[in-house]
Subunit: 459 residues, 2 copies
Amino acid sequence: MEKTTEPEVQQEPWERIEEILEETSGTSAELRDFLDELAPGETARALSRLDEGAQTEVLTALEPEHAAEIIEEMSDAQAADLLEDLSPQQAATIVDELPSNEQADILNELDKADAQAILEHMTPQDAEDARALMQYPEDSAGGIMITEFLAFDAGLTVEDVLQDLRQNSENYSDYAIQYAYVTEKDRLAGVLPLRDLLLSRPRRVLRDLMIAEPLFFRAETPLDELRYFFGEHAFLGVPTVDMDAHLIGVVLRSDVEEAAAEEANENFLKVSGIGNEELRSMPLLTRSRGRLSWLSINIVLNILAASVIAFFQDTLQEVIALAVFLPIISDMSGCSGNQAVAVSMRELTLGLVKPYEFLRVFLKEVSIGIINGASLGILIGIVAFIWKGNAWLSLVIGSAMMLNTILAVCLGGVIPLVLKSFNSDPALASGPILTTVTDMFGFFFVLGFASLMLPRLVG
Amino acid sequence: MEKTTEPEVQQEPWERIEEILEETSGTSAELRDFLDELAPGETARALSRLDEGAQTEVLTALEPEHAAEIIEEMSDAQAADLLEDLSPQQAATIVDELPSNEQADILNELDKADAQAILEHMTPQDAEDARALMQYPEDSAGGIMITEFLAFDAGLTVEDVLQDLRQNSENYSDYAIQYAYVTEKDRLAGVLPLRDLLLSRPRRVLRDLMIAEPLFFRAETPLDELRYFFGEHAFLGVPTVDMDAHLIGVVLRSDVEEAAAEEANENFLKVSGIGNEELRSMPLLTRSRGRLSWLSINIVLNILAASVIAFFQDTLQEVIALAVFLPIISDMSGCSGNQAVAVSMRELTLGLVKPYEFLRVFLKEVSIGIINGASLGILIGIVAFIWKGNAWLSLVIGSAMMLNTILAVCLGGVIPLVLKSFNSDPALASGPILTTVTDMFGFFFVLGFASLMLPRLVG
C-alpha cells in the first residue's frame, strides 16, 4: 500500500499550504499542484486547520470538481461554513459537482437567503433536483437518497440494457451503480443486481429476470427505520418511491451508515457534555460558549445536591471525618451509575431492549447493584475502620455506599429508557440527572445515618 | 416499506420462541416456520434474550445456511459462545457456511481445542482457508480480508470474462463482487470495476482496460491504516497481497467500517467503565465482575484523592462550610475536563490532531479554561457570598474553582494524546487519571487557600 501516514518530522499539509499562500499571493499553480497530490480527505483536514481567508483562497484556486470532492469529505456544517465565504457564483459551480443528496444537505445548513442565491446560480436541472430533495427532512429516506440511478422499462432485454450502458457510459460515470431498477409504466416493478445482468443471457427480458415486488422506502421513512432495515438486510441500496409509487431515488447503505456513525459520535460527545460539533479550529468564543452552556446547568444541579450537606452541617462539625467520604461516595455512585447508563444506551441502539422494558432492566440491574454495592461498601468500610478505628463509622460509611450504589445502578439502567420513551435524548440528559439524584441521596445516607448514630461516632 | 418494527402490544419474537420450545419439545417444524419469517438480525437479537439451552435448540433446528446468517449478525464473542455449546460436527456445518473472514474471526474467539475440533469437521478447503486467515492478527488486512474474489489473467478479453461469469454463476453466487482483479503470472497487475466490464466492448483485452498499478494492502497492514485509507478513497474493496505480491484476498470497505463502528462503540463503553462487551442476557456474575474491576481501581484512586481532605481536617473543622463546596469543585472539574477529553478523542479518531501535538492542544485549551474557569469561579463565588456573606470565603472558593477548571481543561485535552503516544488506550484510562488529579488539586486549592486565610474566614 502507498504510505498514507506521514512520518512525524515531515511538514504537515496545512503548514505547506500556509507557506505557499504566503509566498505566492493570488491564484497559484504551485498550490494546485500541491493539492493535486493530496487525497480529498487529507485536504479537507488540512483546510480545517487554516483560517477563513486561507480556506477561501484554497477553494477558489481549485477546479470545481476537485473542490467538490474536498467539500464532500467535510461535515455538512463545516462545508456550509466554507461555502458562505464564497460568492454565490463560485459556490454554485462547486455545489453543481456534488451528488444530489449532499447538495440538499449542505444547502439546508445555509441561511435561506444564501441557499437561494446559490440555487439561482446552479445549473437548472441540478437546482430543481436539489430543491425537490430539500423538501424532505434530513433524517428521512427523501433527505438521504440520491437521485442518480439506473431505471429501465420491464420490456427491455439484457442486450438493450448493456447497449444503453455502453452508449451512455459518459453520463453514468458518476453513478454509484449497484442495481438497475425496473419500471412498468414508470412505477417501480423490480430490481436487477448488476451482477445478474452480467451473469444472464443477452436475450432475456428484464421482466423475467428481475426480482419482482422489491422492498422499497417511502420518501418520509425516518432514519431510524432505514438503519434498522439495513441492519436486517444485506442490500447496498434500496429504491425510494413517492406517493404514486414512482421511483424518485435510491437510499444507499453507505449514506445510512454514515448518518448512523455520525449519530454514534454525537452520542459520545453529548455524554461528555459537548452538545454541538466542536473542532479546535473553531473560534474560541464559540467553543467556550458551547461547553459553558452544559457546565452551567451542571453547576446548578451540583449546588442543589450539595445543599443536602449544608443541611447536616452540625453533624459534620461533630464528625469531621465524614467530609472525607462525601466526595468518594458521590464519585463512586456516578461511576457505578454511568456503567449502567452505557449498557442501556448500547442496548437501546442495538434494539436489544425496548424503551418500555423498565421492569426487566430494573430487575437485571438491582442484582448487580447489590453485589457491587456490597463489595464497595465493605471495602470503604474497612478503609474507614483502619483510618479511625471506629466500627460505627465504618458501618455508616459502608452502608451508605452500598445503598447508594444500588440506587445508582438501578437509576442508571432505567433513566435512558425513560428519557427515550418521552422522546428526550438519553445521551444528553442521563448523566446530569443521574449524578444529581445519586449525589443528593449519597450525602443524605452518609449524613443521615451519622446523625442517628452521633453519640457512638463521637464517643 | 414493509413494517419492520413491531407494535408495542405484540408478543416479542423471543417470547414466541420460548413458547414454541415449551409446547413442542425436540425439533419442530413450527419453530422453523416461525424463524423463516424473521430477518436474521431479528433472530440474532431474539437468541440473545434466550437462555443457553434454548439457544442451542434453536440453532440445531435450523438449516446450517440459515443458522450461519444469524451467526453473522452477532458479535464474534457472542457467536463463539453459541457455537461452543454445539457439538463440533454441528458447529462445523454452520461455520462452513460463513464467509471466510467471519470463519477466522469466530474460530479465533474459541479455545484452541474447540477451534481445532471444529476445523477437523469442516470441508477441507474451507478449513484450509480459515487456518490461513487465522495466522493474521484480527486487526490487520489479513485478518479482515475475504478470500472469495474474482481474478482473471490479463491476457483474457471482456468476452472471456463474461463467459466465465455466466458459466460459473453458481459458484460466484455468494461472492460480494464489486471488482474483478487482473493478474499477470499470478501477481496482482490491475483492477477492473465490474461496471467497466459492463460498459466495454467484448473484444477488449483486460490488460488494456484495467486500472494498472492498483493500490493494495499487505496482509500485515494494521486496521488503523485501513480505516484511514478508506476514509481517503472511495473504493468498495482493496486487494491484499502476500510477500510475493500474490493476490490473497480482498479487504471490503464494509468490513473495515464494521470494525471501526465496533471500536467507536467500545470506546463509548470503555469511557463509561465497561471494559468488555456486556449484554444483560449474560450471567450475573460475569457482568458484575466486569464492572467491579473498573470500580475497584476507581475507589482506590478516590481514596487517594480524598486523603488530601484528611490532611486539612483542622481547617475544615474551623470552616465547616467548605465541606459543602468540595464535592462541587470535584464534580465540576470532572465535567470540564471530560469535555476536553471528548474533543481530543474525537480529533484523534478523525486524524485532525496527531498524538505529538501536545503544545497546540494545550494552547487551544488553556484559553477556554481561563474563560470557563472565570465564569464558573465567579458564579460559585456569588453563591458562596449569598449563603455565608463572607467575601473571603467567596474568594477562596471562586479562585479554587477557576484554577482547577483551567487545570482540568488543559489536562483533559492533553491526557488522551499522551496516552495515545505511549500506545495506551485513551478511552479506558483518560477518565480515571483526569479525575484523580483534578480532585487532588481541587481539594488542595480549596483547603490550602482556606488555611492561609483562616483568620478572615472564621472572623
